[in-house]
Protein backbone atom coordinates (compact mmCIF):
# COMPACT_ATOMS: atom_id res chain seq x y z
CA UNK A 1 0.00 0.00 0.00
CA UNK A 2 0.97 3.60 -0.47
CA UNK A 3 0.26 4.53 3.08
CA UNK A 4 3.78 3.41 4.02
CA UNK A 5 5.17 6.30 2.02
CA UNK A 6 6.69 9.08 4.08
CA UNK A 7 4.71 11.80 2.37
CA UNK A 8 1.31 10.24 2.85
CA UNK A 9 0.18 13.05 5.18
CA UNK A 10 0.94 15.60 2.50
CA UNK A 11 -1.85 14.21 0.34
CA UNK A 12 -4.31 15.99 2.54
CA UNK A 13 -2.57 19.25 1.70
CA UNK A 14 -4.07 19.11 -1.79
CA UNK A 15 -7.50 19.82 -0.42
CA UNK A 16 -6.72 21.90 2.62
CA UNK A 17 -8.11 25.43 2.64
CA UNK A 18 -5.84 28.40 2.95
CA UNK A 19 -6.89 31.96 3.61
CA UNK A 20 -6.63 34.62 0.96
CA UNK A 21 -3.48 36.67 0.74
CA UNK A 22 -3.29 39.45 3.25
CA UNK A 23 -2.74 43.06 2.39
CA UNK A 24 1.03 43.02 2.77
CA UNK A 25 1.53 39.44 1.54
CA UNK A 26 0.56 40.46 -1.98
CA UNK A 27 3.36 42.96 -2.66
CA UNK A 28 5.82 40.82 -0.73
CA UNK A 29 5.10 37.85 -2.96
CA UNK A 30 5.61 40.04 -6.00
CA UNK A 31 8.94 41.20 -4.69
CA UNK A 32 9.96 37.68 -3.69
CA UNK A 33 10.29 38.56 -0.02
CA UNK A 34 8.62 35.45 1.36
CA UNK A 35 10.03 32.37 3.09
CA UNK A 36 9.85 29.07 1.20
CA UNK A 37 7.05 27.71 3.37
CA UNK A 38 5.04 30.89 3.08
CA UNK A 39 5.65 31.09 -0.63
CA UNK A 40 4.49 27.53 -1.09
CA UNK A 41 1.34 28.21 0.93
CA UNK A 42 0.62 31.31 -1.13
CA UNK A 43 1.11 29.40 -4.37
CA UNK A 44 -1.09 26.60 -3.11
CA UNK A 45 -3.80 29.14 -2.46
CA UNK A 46 -3.21 30.88 -5.79
CA UNK A 47 -4.06 27.70 -7.68
CA UNK A 48 -7.53 27.70 -6.09
CA UNK A 49 -8.29 31.38 -5.68
CA UNK A 50 -9.11 33.36 -8.81
CA UNK A 51 -9.49 36.57 -6.85
CA UNK A 52 -5.98 36.45 -5.42
CA UNK A 53 -4.43 35.38 -8.73
CA UNK A 54 -6.24 38.16 -10.58
CA UNK A 55 -5.14 40.64 -7.96
CA UNK A 56 -1.57 39.41 -8.30
CA UNK A 57 -1.61 39.71 -12.05
CA UNK A 58 -3.16 43.17 -11.84
CA UNK A 59 -0.51 44.33 -9.43
CA UNK A 60 2.24 42.88 -11.58
CA UNK A 61 1.04 45.05 -14.45
CA UNK A 62 1.05 48.20 -12.32
CA UNK A 63 4.40 49.96 -12.27
CA UNK A 64 4.30 50.67 -8.53
CA UNK A 65 2.15 49.58 -5.63
CA UNK A 66 1.64 53.12 -4.30
CA UNK A 67 -1.76 53.52 -5.83
CA UNK A 68 -2.77 50.12 -4.53
CA UNK A 69 -1.75 51.02 -1.02
CA UNK A 70 -3.37 54.42 -1.23
CA UNK A 71 -6.67 53.14 -2.54
CA UNK A 72 -6.72 50.29 -0.07
CA UNK A 73 -6.21 52.74 2.78
CA UNK A 74 -8.99 54.91 1.49
CA UNK A 75 -11.36 52.01 1.04
CA UNK A 76 -10.67 50.65 4.51
CA UNK A 77 -11.19 54.07 6.00
CA UNK A 78 -14.40 54.39 4.06
CA UNK A 79 -15.58 51.02 5.36
CA UNK A 80 -14.72 51.98 8.91
CA UNK A 81 -16.42 55.35 8.77
CA UNK A 82 -19.53 54.02 7.11
CA UNK A 83 -19.88 51.05 9.42
CA UNK A 84 -19.02 52.66 12.73
CA UNK A 85 -21.76 55.29 13.04
CA UNK A 86 -24.35 52.93 11.63
CA UNK A 87 -23.50 50.21 14.08
CA UNK A 88 -23.48 52.78 16.88
CA UNK A 89 -26.91 54.10 16.01
CA UNK A 90 -28.06 50.53 15.60
CA UNK A 91 -26.87 49.72 19.10
CA UNK A 92 -28.63 52.76 20.50
CA UNK A 93 -31.80 51.78 18.68
CA UNK A 94 -31.55 48.26 20.02
CA UNK A 95 -31.00 49.54 23.53
CA UNK A 96 -33.94 51.93 23.38
CA UNK A 97 -36.10 49.17 21.94
CA UNK A 98 -35.13 46.90 24.80
CA UNK A 99 -35.87 49.61 27.34
CA UNK A 100 -39.22 50.31 25.75
CA UNK A 101 -40.05 46.63 25.85
CA UNK A 102 -39.12 46.55 29.50
CA UNK A 103 -41.32 49.56 30.18
CA UNK A 104 -44.17 47.96 28.30
CA UNK A 105 -43.76 44.81 30.33
CA UNK A 106 -43.73 46.85 33.52
CA UNK A 107 -46.88 48.68 32.50
CA UNK A 108 -48.58 45.39 31.72
CA UNK A 109 -47.43 43.98 35.02
CA UNK A 110 -48.83 46.90 36.99
CA UNK A 111 -52.09 46.82 35.10
CA UNK A 112 -52.45 43.13 35.83
CA UNK A 113 -51.44 43.69 39.45
CA UNK A 114 -54.03 46.44 39.93
CA UNK A 115 -56.73 44.41 38.26
CA UNK A 116 -55.84 41.53 40.56
CA UNK A 117 -55.91 43.82 43.57
CA UNK A 118 -59.27 45.25 42.53
CA UNK A 119 -60.79 41.82 42.05
CA UNK A 120 -59.35 40.70 45.37
CA UNK A 121 -60.69 43.74 47.21
CA UNK A 122 -64.12 43.33 45.64
CA UNK A 123 -64.09 39.70 46.69
CA UNK A 124 -63.05 40.61 50.21
CA UNK A 125 -65.66 43.35 50.39
CA UNK A 126 -68.37 41.01 49.23
CA UNK A 127 -67.29 38.49 51.80
CA UNK A 128 -67.34 41.20 54.44
CA UNK A 129 -70.79 42.36 53.40
CA UNK A 130 -72.03 38.78 53.36
CA UNK A 131 -70.81 38.38 56.91
CA UNK A 132 -72.27 41.70 58.00
CA UNK A 133 -76.05 41.08 57.80
CA UNK A 134 -76.33 38.41 60.52
CA UNK A 135 -75.14 40.87 63.22
CA UNK A 136 -77.71 43.32 61.87
CA UNK A 137 -80.41 40.71 62.27
CA UNK A 138 -79.19 39.96 65.72
CA UNK A 139 -79.35 43.63 66.57
CA UNK A 140 -82.85 43.77 65.21
CA UNK A 141 -83.83 40.58 66.95
CA UNK A 142 -82.02 41.30 70.15
CA UNK A 143 -84.44 43.60 71.90
CA UNK A 144 -87.07 40.87 71.97
CA UNK A 145 -84.60 38.33 73.25
CA UNK A 146 -83.14 40.89 75.54
CA UNK A 147 -86.49 41.59 77.08
CA UNK A 148 -87.05 37.88 77.50
CA UNK A 149 -83.64 37.68 79.02
CA UNK A 150 -84.33 40.56 81.33
CA UNK A 151 -87.58 38.96 82.40
CA UNK A 152 -85.68 35.80 83.00
CA UNK A 153 -83.05 37.80 84.79
CA UNK A 154 -85.59 39.60 86.85
CA UNK A 155 -86.83 36.32 88.16
CA UNK A 156 -83.80 35.11 90.10
CA UNK A 157 -83.54 38.12 92.41
CA UNK A 158 -87.00 37.25 93.43
CA UNK A 159 -86.12 33.61 93.78
CA UNK A 160 -82.89 33.67 95.68
CA UNK A 161 -83.72 36.15 98.37
CA UNK A 162 -86.72 34.04 99.17
CA UNK A 163 -84.48 31.00 99.47
CA UNK A 164 -82.42 32.83 101.99
CA UNK A 165 -85.29 34.36 103.79
CA UNK A 166 -87.28 31.19 104.11
CA UNK A 167 -85.13 29.92 106.89
CA UNK A 168 -84.63 33.04 108.93
CA UNK A 169 -88.19 34.18 108.50
CA UNK A 170 -89.73 31.67 110.87
CA UNK A 171 -87.09 32.42 113.46
CA UNK A 172 -87.90 36.05 113.18
CA UNK A 173 -91.53 35.25 113.61
CA UNK A 174 -90.67 33.23 116.67
CA UNK A 175 -88.43 35.82 118.16
CA UNK A 176 -90.58 38.75 117.42
CA UNK A 177 -93.36 37.91 119.82
CA UNK A 178 -90.89 36.94 122.58
CA UNK A 179 -89.31 40.35 122.77
CA UNK A 180 -92.18 42.68 122.42
CA UNK A 181 -91.93 46.01 124.22
CA UNK A 182 -88.25 46.70 124.81
CA UNK A 183 -87.03 47.03 121.20
CA UNK A 184 -89.84 48.92 119.53
CA UNK A 185 -88.73 52.18 121.09
CA UNK A 186 -85.16 51.66 120.03
CA UNK A 187 -86.14 50.58 116.59
CA UNK A 188 -88.54 53.45 116.30
CA UNK A 189 -85.86 55.83 117.51
CA UNK A 190 -83.34 54.41 115.05
CA UNK A 191 -85.51 54.42 111.97
CA UNK A 192 -88.37 56.81 112.30
CA UNK A 193 -88.86 57.47 108.62
CA UNK A 194 -88.24 53.89 107.66
CA UNK A 195 -90.74 52.58 110.09
CA UNK A 196 -93.46 54.82 108.71
CA UNK A 197 -92.90 53.64 105.16
CA UNK A 198 -92.63 50.07 106.29
CA UNK A 199 -95.79 50.35 108.23
CA UNK A 200 -97.59 51.37 105.12
CA UNK A 201 -96.06 48.49 103.12
CA UNK A 202 -96.93 46.06 105.83
CA UNK A 203 -100.44 47.37 105.97
CA UNK A 204 -100.76 46.88 102.21
CA UNK A 205 -99.42 43.37 102.42
CA UNK A 206 -101.70 42.62 105.22
CA UNK A 207 -104.66 43.89 103.25
CA UNK A 208 -103.65 41.77 100.26
CA UNK A 209 -103.28 38.56 102.17
CA UNK A 210 -106.03 38.88 104.66
CA UNK A 211 -108.33 36.73 102.65
CA UNK A 212 -105.81 33.96 102.16
CA UNK A 213 -104.51 34.21 105.66
CA UNK A 214 -106.99 32.17 107.60
CA UNK A 215 -107.42 29.14 105.37
CA UNK A 216 -103.90 28.06 104.57
CA UNK A 217 -102.44 26.66 107.74
CA UNK A 218 -102.54 23.08 106.58
CA UNK A 219 -101.40 23.95 103.07
CA UNK A 220 -98.60 25.83 104.70
CA UNK A 221 -97.13 22.71 106.20
CA UNK A 222 -97.37 20.80 102.95
CA UNK A 223 -95.65 23.67 101.22
CA UNK A 224 -92.89 23.61 103.77
CA UNK A 225 -92.30 19.96 102.96
CA UNK A 226 -92.18 20.70 99.24
CA UNK A 227 -89.87 23.54 99.90
CA UNK A 228 -87.42 21.23 101.54
CA UNK A 229 -87.66 18.80 98.63
CA UNK A 230 -86.72 21.29 95.95
CA UNK A 231 -85.86 24.67 97.16
CA UNK A 232 -84.41 25.87 93.88
CA UNK A 233 -87.50 25.73 91.73
CA UNK A 234 -89.26 28.90 90.95
CA UNK A 235 -92.69 27.59 91.68
CA UNK A 236 -91.56 26.39 95.04
CA UNK A 237 -89.98 29.73 95.65
CA UNK A 238 -93.19 31.50 94.85
CA UNK A 239 -95.05 29.20 97.15
CA UNK A 240 -92.51 29.80 99.81
CA UNK A 241 -93.03 33.47 99.31
CA UNK A 242 -96.69 33.00 99.76
CA UNK A 243 -95.90 30.78 102.65
CA UNK A 244 -93.95 33.51 104.37
CA UNK A 245 -96.59 36.01 103.80
CA UNK A 246 -99.13 33.62 105.15
CA UNK A 247 -96.99 33.18 108.24
CA UNK A 248 -96.75 36.89 108.58
CA UNK A 249 -100.43 37.03 108.50
CA UNK A 250 -100.60 34.28 111.10
CA UNK A 251 -98.35 36.30 113.25
CA UNK A 252 -100.46 39.36 112.67
CA UNK A 253 -103.62 37.50 113.49
CA UNK A 254 -102.63 36.68 117.05
CA UNK A 255 -100.89 40.00 117.44
CA UNK A 256 -103.82 41.99 116.38
CA UNK A 257 -104.89 42.86 119.90
CA UNK A 258 -101.65 44.74 120.48
CA UNK A 259 -100.48 46.28 117.21
CA UNK A 260 -97.17 47.59 118.34
CA UNK A 261 -95.24 44.32 118.74
CA UNK A 262 -96.42 43.12 115.37
CA UNK A 263 -95.36 46.34 113.79
CA UNK A 264 -91.97 46.05 115.40
CA UNK A 265 -91.64 42.53 114.16
CA UNK A 266 -92.34 43.73 110.67
CA UNK A 267 -89.89 46.52 111.07
CA UNK A 268 -87.25 44.04 111.97
CA UNK A 269 -88.22 41.61 109.27
CA UNK A 270 -88.50 44.03 106.44
CA UNK A 271 -84.93 45.38 106.42
CA UNK A 272 -83.51 41.88 106.69
CA UNK A 273 -84.73 40.62 103.34
CA UNK A 274 -83.64 43.85 101.70
CA UNK A 275 -80.09 43.41 102.96
CA UNK A 276 -79.95 39.79 101.98
CA UNK A 277 -81.37 40.59 98.64
CA UNK A 278 -78.52 42.97 97.91
CA UNK A 279 -75.96 40.45 99.11
CA UNK A 280 -77.42 37.64 97.10
CA UNK A 281 -77.89 39.80 94.04
CA UNK A 282 -74.26 40.82 93.73
CA UNK A 283 -72.94 37.58 92.08
CA UNK A 284 -75.94 37.40 89.83
CA UNK A 285 -75.47 41.00 88.88
CA UNK A 286 -71.87 40.32 87.87
CA UNK A 287 -73.13 37.56 85.60
CA UNK A 288 -75.68 39.93 84.24
CA UNK A 289 -73.11 42.59 83.59
CA UNK A 290 -70.88 40.09 81.85
CA UNK A 291 -73.80 38.94 79.77
CA UNK A 292 -74.82 42.46 78.88
CA UNK A 293 -71.26 43.41 77.99
CA UNK A 294 -71.10 40.40 75.73
CA UNK A 295 -74.40 41.44 74.18
CA UNK A 296 -73.01 44.89 73.52
CA UNK A 297 -70.00 43.38 71.82
CA UNK A 298 -72.25 41.17 69.78
CA UNK A 299 -74.37 44.10 68.73
CA UNK A 300 -71.30 46.03 67.76
CA UNK A 301 -70.34 43.14 65.55
CA UNK A 302 -67.27 42.21 67.57
CA UNK A 303 -68.18 38.55 67.52
CA UNK A 304 -64.90 37.08 68.70
CA UNK A 305 -64.91 39.31 71.79
CA UNK A 306 -68.55 38.47 72.42
CA UNK A 307 -67.81 34.77 72.08
CA UNK A 308 -64.96 35.17 74.52
CA UNK A 309 -67.30 36.80 77.07
CA UNK A 310 -70.01 34.23 76.60
CA UNK A 311 -67.48 31.46 77.08
CA UNK A 312 -66.34 32.99 80.33
CA UNK A 313 -69.91 33.41 81.44
CA UNK A 314 -70.66 29.83 80.55
CA UNK A 315 -67.66 28.63 82.53
CA UNK A 316 -68.19 30.85 85.57
CA UNK A 317 -71.88 31.20 86.17
CA UNK A 318 -74.61 28.66 86.71
CA UNK A 319 -78.30 28.27 85.99
CA UNK A 320 -80.04 30.53 83.54
CA UNK A 321 -76.99 32.40 82.35
CA UNK A 322 -75.22 29.30 81.17
CA UNK A 323 -78.14 28.51 78.93
CA UNK A 324 -78.47 32.06 77.70
CA UNK A 325 -74.77 32.33 77.12
CA UNK A 326 -74.81 29.08 75.14
CA UNK A 327 -77.73 30.27 73.09
CA UNK A 328 -75.99 33.54 72.27
CA UNK A 329 -72.78 31.66 71.58
CA UNK A 330 -74.66 29.55 69.07
CA UNK A 331 -76.00 32.69 67.42
CA UNK A 332 -72.54 34.20 67.33
CA UNK A 333 -71.15 31.07 65.71
CA UNK A 334 -73.96 31.05 63.22
CA UNK A 335 -73.35 34.64 62.20
CA UNK A 336 -69.65 33.88 62.00
CA UNK A 337 -70.42 31.03 59.65
CA UNK A 338 -69.23 28.24 61.95
CA UNK A 339 -72.35 26.19 61.49
CA UNK A 340 -71.05 23.03 63.13
CA UNK A 341 -70.27 24.80 66.38
CA UNK A 342 -73.54 26.70 66.23
CA UNK A 343 -75.49 23.48 65.84
CA UNK A 344 -73.65 21.88 68.69
CA UNK A 345 -74.42 24.84 70.92
CA UNK A 346 -78.09 24.85 69.97
CA UNK A 347 -78.26 21.15 70.71
CA UNK A 348 -76.70 21.72 74.10
CA UNK A 349 -79.23 24.44 74.83
CA UNK A 350 -82.02 22.04 73.88
CA UNK A 351 -80.50 19.35 76.03
CA UNK A 352 -80.43 21.76 78.98
CA UNK A 353 -84.21 21.85 78.65
CA UNK A 354 -84.52 25.45 79.81
CA UNK A 355 -86.49 28.48 78.75
CA UNK A 356 -84.55 28.90 75.54
CA UNK A 357 -85.26 25.36 74.39
CA UNK A 358 -87.95 26.32 71.89
CA UNK A 359 -85.97 29.18 70.44
CA UNK A 360 -82.96 26.92 70.08
CA UNK A 361 -85.09 24.28 68.42
CA UNK A 362 -86.46 26.80 66.00
CA UNK A 363 -83.01 28.12 65.23
CA UNK A 364 -81.67 24.62 64.74
CA UNK A 365 -84.51 23.76 62.40
CA UNK A 366 -84.04 26.89 60.36
CA UNK A 367 -80.28 26.29 59.93
Amino acid sequence: MLSSKPNNDKVLKIFSTIRCLSRDQLPRYLEGRLTDVEKHLVEQHLTDCDLCFDALQALEKEENTDRYQDLTNKLQRYVHTSIQPVSHTQKIAQYTRKEKNKEHMLVYFWIVAFIGLGIGSVYVMRGHIRNQPPPMHIMAGLPAKDSSVTTAVSNPPVVTPVDHTTTPAPEATHTAPVTPPAKPVLAAAQKPVDSAALKKAAALKAAQHKAAADSIRKVQQANLLKQKQDSIRKAAADKADKDNKAKDDDNKAPAKPDNKPAQVAKEQKAPEPAKKESVAASPINSDEYLYKAAMVYQQQGNLSEAIDRYRRLEAVSSGKYVELARYQLAICYRSKGQMGKARRMFREVIRMDGSMKDAAKQALDSM
Partner: protein, 190 residues
Protein backbone atom coordinates in the same frame (compact mmCIF):
# COMPACT_ATOMS: atom_id res chain seq x y z
CA UNK B 1 -15.49 44.40 19.33
CA UNK B 2 -13.53 45.03 16.18
CA UNK B 3 -10.66 42.96 17.55
CA UNK B 4 -12.86 40.01 18.39
CA UNK B 5 -14.58 40.10 15.05
CA UNK B 6 -11.34 40.10 13.09
CA UNK B 7 -10.51 36.72 14.57
CA UNK B 8 -13.72 35.16 13.30
CA UNK B 9 -13.89 33.17 10.09
CA UNK B 10 -15.62 34.44 6.96
CA UNK B 11 -18.50 32.06 7.51
CA UNK B 12 -19.20 33.33 10.99
CA UNK B 13 -18.95 36.93 9.94
CA UNK B 14 -21.47 36.30 7.17
CA UNK B 15 -23.88 34.54 9.51
CA UNK B 16 -23.57 37.38 12.00
CA UNK B 17 -24.20 39.98 9.34
CA UNK B 18 -27.27 38.04 8.22
CA UNK B 19 -28.89 36.83 11.39
CA UNK B 20 -28.05 39.64 13.78
CA UNK B 21 -27.90 42.39 11.18
CA UNK B 22 -24.46 43.09 12.54
CA UNK B 23 -23.05 45.88 10.42
CA UNK B 24 -19.74 45.61 12.19
CA UNK B 25 -19.26 42.00 11.12
CA UNK B 26 -20.08 43.05 7.59
CA UNK B 27 -17.54 45.84 7.86
CA UNK B 28 -14.85 43.46 9.09
CA UNK B 29 -15.55 41.13 6.19
CA UNK B 30 -15.30 43.97 3.67
CA UNK B 31 -12.17 45.20 5.35
CA UNK B 32 -10.61 41.75 5.07
CA UNK B 33 -11.04 41.64 1.31
CA UNK B 34 -10.75 45.34 0.53
CA UNK B 35 -7.10 45.19 -0.64
CA UNK B 36 -7.86 42.35 -3.07
CA UNK B 37 -10.88 44.24 -4.33
CA UNK B 38 -8.71 47.29 -4.90
CA UNK B 39 -6.00 45.24 -6.62
CA UNK B 40 -8.50 43.53 -8.90
CA UNK B 41 -10.29 46.77 -9.78
CA UNK B 42 -7.13 48.85 -10.28
CA UNK B 43 -6.48 47.89 -13.92
CA UNK B 44 -10.08 48.78 -14.84
CA UNK B 45 -9.81 52.15 -13.18
CA UNK B 46 -6.51 52.95 -14.86
CA UNK B 47 -7.80 51.77 -18.25
CA UNK B 48 -11.18 53.50 -18.18
CA UNK B 49 -10.91 57.17 -17.38
CA UNK B 50 -14.64 57.52 -16.71
CA UNK B 51 -14.39 55.32 -13.62
CA UNK B 52 -13.87 57.31 -10.45
CA UNK B 53 -12.51 55.29 -7.54
CA UNK B 54 -14.55 57.47 -5.18
CA UNK B 55 -17.70 56.25 -6.90
CA UNK B 56 -16.72 52.74 -7.92
CA UNK B 57 -15.69 51.38 -4.56
CA UNK B 58 -18.62 52.65 -2.47
CA UNK B 59 -21.13 51.38 -5.04
CA UNK B 60 -19.26 48.06 -5.21
CA UNK B 61 -19.43 47.78 -1.44
CA UNK B 62 -23.14 48.58 -1.51
CA UNK B 63 -23.72 45.88 -4.05
CA UNK B 64 -21.72 43.40 -2.00
CA UNK B 65 -23.61 44.30 1.14
CA UNK B 66 -26.95 43.92 -0.64
CA UNK B 67 -26.09 40.50 -2.05
CA UNK B 68 -24.58 39.37 1.24
CA UNK B 69 -28.05 39.24 2.74
CA UNK B 70 -29.64 37.14 0.04
CA UNK B 71 -27.05 34.90 -1.55
CA UNK B 72 -25.53 31.59 -0.61
CA UNK B 73 -21.84 32.19 -0.15
CA UNK B 74 -19.50 29.23 0.17
CA UNK B 75 -16.33 31.10 -0.60
CA UNK B 76 -16.08 34.79 -0.09
CA UNK B 77 -13.28 35.26 -2.63
CA UNK B 78 -15.32 33.71 -5.44
CA UNK B 79 -18.34 35.73 -4.49
CA UNK B 80 -16.45 39.02 -4.38
CA UNK B 81 -14.83 38.36 -7.73
CA UNK B 82 -18.19 37.50 -9.26
CA UNK B 83 -19.82 40.67 -7.96
CA UNK B 84 -16.88 42.79 -9.03
CA UNK B 85 -16.88 41.34 -12.54
CA UNK B 86 -20.60 41.72 -12.77
CA UNK B 87 -20.43 45.33 -11.66
CA UNK B 88 -17.66 46.27 -14.07
CA UNK B 89 -19.05 44.23 -16.99
CA UNK B 90 -22.74 45.15 -16.74
CA UNK B 91 -23.24 47.79 -14.06
CA UNK B 92 -26.97 48.08 -14.74
CA UNK B 93 -27.67 44.35 -14.25
CA UNK B 94 -27.32 42.58 -10.98
CA UNK B 95 -26.24 39.06 -11.89
CA UNK B 96 -26.75 36.58 -9.10
CA UNK B 97 -23.95 34.39 -7.96
CA UNK B 98 -24.25 30.60 -8.19
CA UNK B 99 -21.43 28.38 -7.02
CA UNK B 100 -20.54 25.78 -9.67
CA UNK B 101 -21.02 22.01 -9.30
CA UNK B 102 -17.28 21.36 -9.39
CA UNK B 103 -16.79 24.03 -6.83
CA UNK B 104 -19.22 22.28 -4.52
CA UNK B 105 -17.36 18.95 -4.94
CA UNK B 106 -14.15 20.67 -4.02
CA UNK B 107 -15.84 22.41 -1.12
CA UNK B 108 -17.15 19.09 0.17
CA UNK B 109 -13.72 17.47 0.13
CA UNK B 110 -12.19 20.52 1.76
CA UNK B 111 -14.74 20.33 4.52
CA UNK B 112 -14.13 16.61 5.12
CA UNK B 113 -10.40 17.25 5.25
CA UNK B 114 -11.02 20.05 7.71
CA UNK B 115 -13.11 17.81 9.96
CA UNK B 116 -10.65 14.91 9.76
CA UNK B 117 -7.87 17.08 11.12
CA UNK B 118 -8.72 16.11 14.69
CA UNK B 119 -9.84 12.54 14.12
CA UNK B 120 -7.00 10.06 13.46
CA UNK B 121 -9.19 7.25 12.15
CA UNK B 122 -11.01 9.53 9.73
CA UNK B 123 -7.72 11.01 8.75
CA UNK B 124 -6.13 7.64 7.90
CA UNK B 125 -9.20 6.63 5.94
CA UNK B 126 -9.17 9.88 4.03
CA UNK B 127 -5.46 9.54 3.23
CA UNK B 128 -5.97 6.03 1.84
CA UNK B 129 -8.89 7.15 -0.29
CA UNK B 130 -7.03 10.19 -1.60
CA UNK B 131 -4.01 8.10 -2.53
CA UNK B 132 -6.21 5.61 -4.32
CA UNK B 133 -7.81 8.45 -6.25
CA UNK B 134 -4.37 9.86 -7.00
CA UNK B 135 -3.23 6.48 -8.40
CA UNK B 136 -6.14 6.47 -10.84
CA UNK B 137 -5.32 9.94 -12.15
CA UNK B 138 -3.50 10.15 -15.51
CA UNK B 139 0.26 10.27 -15.36
CA UNK B 140 0.80 13.94 -16.33
CA UNK B 141 -1.63 15.29 -13.80
CA UNK B 142 -0.37 12.96 -11.10
CA UNK B 143 3.20 14.03 -11.74
CA UNK B 144 2.23 17.70 -11.61
CA UNK B 145 0.31 17.28 -8.36
CA UNK B 146 3.01 15.24 -6.66
CA UNK B 147 5.68 17.73 -7.70
CA UNK B 148 3.70 20.75 -6.62
CA UNK B 149 1.94 19.52 -3.48
CA UNK B 150 4.07 16.66 -2.19
CA UNK B 151 7.51 17.92 -3.15
CA UNK B 152 6.74 21.58 -2.40
CA UNK B 153 8.17 22.85 -5.71
CA UNK B 154 7.36 26.52 -6.43
CA UNK B 155 5.80 27.74 -9.65
CA UNK B 156 9.06 29.14 -10.88
CA UNK B 157 10.86 25.76 -10.65
CA UNK B 158 8.03 23.93 -12.34
CA UNK B 159 7.73 26.40 -15.19
CA UNK B 160 11.50 26.28 -15.63
CA UNK B 161 11.58 22.45 -15.90
CA UNK B 162 8.47 22.06 -18.06
CA UNK B 163 8.76 25.30 -20.04
CA UNK B 164 5.13 26.29 -19.39
CA UNK B 165 4.10 29.72 -18.22
CA UNK B 166 2.89 30.26 -14.67
CA UNK B 167 -0.70 30.94 -15.72
CA UNK B 168 -0.88 27.77 -17.75
CA UNK B 169 0.74 25.82 -14.98
CA UNK B 170 -1.85 27.11 -12.58
CA UNK B 171 -4.78 26.21 -14.82
CA UNK B 172 -3.29 22.72 -15.35
CA UNK B 173 -2.96 22.28 -11.62
CA UNK B 174 -6.48 23.46 -11.09
CA UNK B 175 -7.83 21.08 -13.67
CA UNK B 176 -5.85 18.18 -12.20
CA UNK B 177 -7.23 18.99 -8.80
CA UNK B 178 -10.76 19.04 -10.17
CA UNK B 179 -10.23 15.60 -11.78
CA UNK B 180 -8.84 14.27 -8.54
CA UNK B 181 -11.87 15.59 -6.68
CA UNK B 182 -14.21 13.89 -9.14
CA UNK B 183 -12.33 10.62 -8.83
CA UNK B 184 -12.44 10.88 -5.09
CA UNK B 185 -16.13 11.62 -4.97
CA UNK B 186 -17.45 9.26 -7.61
CA UNK B 187 -14.88 6.61 -8.59
CA UNK B 188 -13.99 5.45 -5.14
CA UNK B 189 -13.64 1.66 -4.70
CA UNK B 190 -12.43 0.27 -1.45
Amino acid sequence: MQQQLTNLSDKELISRARKQHDREAEGVLMDRYSHLLVAVTLPHISQQSNLDPNVVFPSLLQRLSASLKTQTIYKVNEWILHIQKGYLGKPEKNTPFYPSRDGRDLLHIENTVDKAATNIIDRQDLIVRLEQALQRLNADDRALITQFYLENKPFSDLSATTGISREKLRTQLKAAKGKLAKLFMNGYVK
